[in-house]
Amino acid sequence: MFYSRQISVRLHAEHLATIQLWSRLEHAIAARMPDEQLAPLYRNCAAALADEVERHFAFEEKQLFIRLAEAGDGDIAELLREEHETIREAGARLQELAAQVRPDEAAKRELRALGVELAERVVSHVQKEEMALLPAIDDLIDEDTDRELALSYASQ
């Protein structure tokens, strides 16, 4: 997508990075990469969820979903918020498992299943935001609001 607002461009760039990271994990699991080689990928994904993705989610929830709802798309805002919650819950479990130094077989199996599930959830969520959230935000905010939002996001 091509966006005209700074904040949409910024969020879009983060979406791209997120898709690349999770696609790498998904591909590695599908290719049956050994668990030892998967471990750093799990840790990268878990760290991204805890830091950048959480910051991204929190900003969208505080600043953007409310604007989307006010513009009449409350159902889409609610759906996106619900997906954030599901990703957070699954992400917390991933962080827990990825932090284990010597995971047992059951933990390894759960990590693989969780990795695949989270990859699908994150990518599907990005798809929806790219389709419905960012184009709408591009329309809804003016230049001044865009500047304020971009500054506010950069300072977080």
């Binding site: 997508m1 091509f2 791209l16 898709i19 690349q20 696609s23 591909h27 009449g72 798309d73 409350g74 159902d75 889409i76 609610e78 759906l79 619900e82 997906e83 919650e85 599901t86 819950e89 699954a90 599930e117 699908e120 959830r121 990518v123 599907s124 990005v126 798809q127 929806k128 790219e130 389709m131 419905a132 184009p135 709408a136 591009d138 329309d139």
Partner: protein, 432 residues
């Protein structure tokens, strides 16, 4: 504004609205192939006129293609135009007119009964007329994506003209209205298939295919060029029809349409090549097969007009156009859109949203894809060699593919229902 019901609260329609169209399309596809199986001997000699082949054709064009186009555009166009549907009640009324209207129209056509056929046609015209209003109201206040809006407007104009010509044809059968039936039928075919359905498919492709593939949108300049070529082709075909179906002009129209198709495919492939995730998904196999059939239909049309192909290839042209291009494309889109919309609505019950993969019976779809492609290829061969046995085999395989598609649809619906019920929490388990 039509004062029926209220506008949708947002751009997301209640799940029952698009799904009723898709479910009906799945059912009519089964009936269409079954009817073709019954009338396989008649296909090679089909040149229009009432009967089972005519009914099977309209079960596909109205019952599957138009039905899906209405359902998909009512949900997807508001997302791309950033405008909600003007009236959800009207969106439901369109289905209540269209679904039984198609059944009456096709049933009466099988029985060579023009009077009840006219009743069915009236219901279909009313449905598509109301839909045209909804499309108009959405496009009028649309924002963003200018190329897609332009395709939408062009499709709308073609729909209105196709409906007007369809009415003339019904008046011809019902009241003996004097007209050049072959000419009007040809113009109706061009406007309905390449015009309304084709332009809507090409326009929504610019939005939906990149969304499914996570790729950048196609070049606006190429999209506009493809649309201009397509409109030029349609206009030229209509002029040729008025001029007593001038073969040379019709061949030029086909060539322009061919160029439009090639530009569209190049543009879409460039967009898909820049996708963020390598796996495209098996539905894109159908998309690409549909593109091949689109280009082949136009090449066959030009060759027929120039006398390079024998007259029996008229049926091959029709097979490439309807089941080859339009039906294959529509099935590809439905394979992605039905589980996607189901997952969106499965999340509306307070549980974590269901995964698309958990709602999709992949193995059923794998079977459906290969059966459909085999049926289409065999139907083309059967029509080309005027082999009733080949057509019969193709129709039998097509029927199996249509049943597999119906199983896919009902499975997704069953899993969607399960996702909203405390009794069936297994919707999140990926099974087939």
């Amino acid at each position: 504004m039509i004062p029926i019901g209220s506008a949708a609260r947002g751009r997301l329609l209640p799940v029952s609205v698009p799904m009723r169209y898709f479910g009906t399309a799945a059912a009519y596809q089964v009936f269409a192939w079954a009817l073709l199986l019954y009338a396989a001997d008649d296909l090679a000699g089909f040149r229009g006129g009432l009967g089972p082949v005519f009914a099977a054709l309209h079960l596909v064009t109205l019952g599957v293609l138009a039905m899906t186009a209405v359902g998909a555009s009512l949900q997807m166009l508001p997302v791309s135009t950033r405008q909600p549907v003007q009236s959800v009640a009207l969106a439901r009324i369109v289905w209540w007119l269209l679904a039984p209207g198609v059944a009456v129209f096709a049933g009466a056509a099988i029985l060579y009964a023009p009077r009840p056929m006219a009743l069915g046609a009236l219901a279909v015209f009313a449905a598509l007329g109301l839909y045209a209003w909804l499309l108009f109201a959405n496009l009028r206040s649309a924002r963003g994506m200018p190329a897609i809006r332009a395709y939408g407007w062009a499709a709308l104009v073609c729909l209105v003209l196709a409906l007007a010509l369809g009415l003339l044809l019904v008046a011809h059968y019902e009241h003996g209205l004097a007209l050049d039936r072959a000419g009007v039928a040809l113009a109706h075919l061009v406007l309905a298939s390449y015009g309304f359905m084709g332009l809507l498919a090409l326009g929504l492709s610019c939005f939906m295919l990149p969304m499914f593939a996570l790729s950048p949108p196609p070049s606006g300049m190429l999209a506009t060029a493809s649309l201009a070529l397509a409109l030029g082709a349609i206009a030229l075909a209509l002029i040729a029809t008025v001029l007593d179906r001038q073969p040379a002009l019709l061949a030029v129209a086909c060539a322009l349409g061919f160029a439009a198709a090639i530009v569209h495919v190049i543009m879409m492939e460039k967009s898909l090549a820049a996708r963020l995730r390598p796996p495209l998904g098996a539905a894109f196999l159908l998309v690409r097969a549909a593109w091949v059939c689109l280009a082949a239909s136009l090449a066959a049309g030009a060759a027929l007009m120039l006398g390079w192909l024998p007259e029996r290839f008229v049926v091959v042209f029709g097979v490439l156009l309807v089941p080859g291009w339009l039906l294959t494309f529509v099935l590809a889109v439905l394979q992605r859109i039905v589980p996607f919309l189901a997952s969106v609505h499965a999340g509306a019950h307070g549980r974590g949203p269901a995964l698309v993969s958990s709602l999709t019976p992949e193995r059923t779809l794998d079977v459906q894809r290969w059966l459909h492609l085999s049926a289409t290829a065999l139907l083309i061969a059967g029509a080309a060699f005027q082999s009733a046995a080949g057509v019969r085999l193709a129709a039998a395989i097509g029927l199996a593919a249509a049943i597999a598609f119906a199983v896919f649809f009902t499975t997704v619906m069953r899993r969607l229902r399960g996702s909203g019920s405390n009794r069936s929490p297994d919707v999140l388990q990926p099974t087939n």
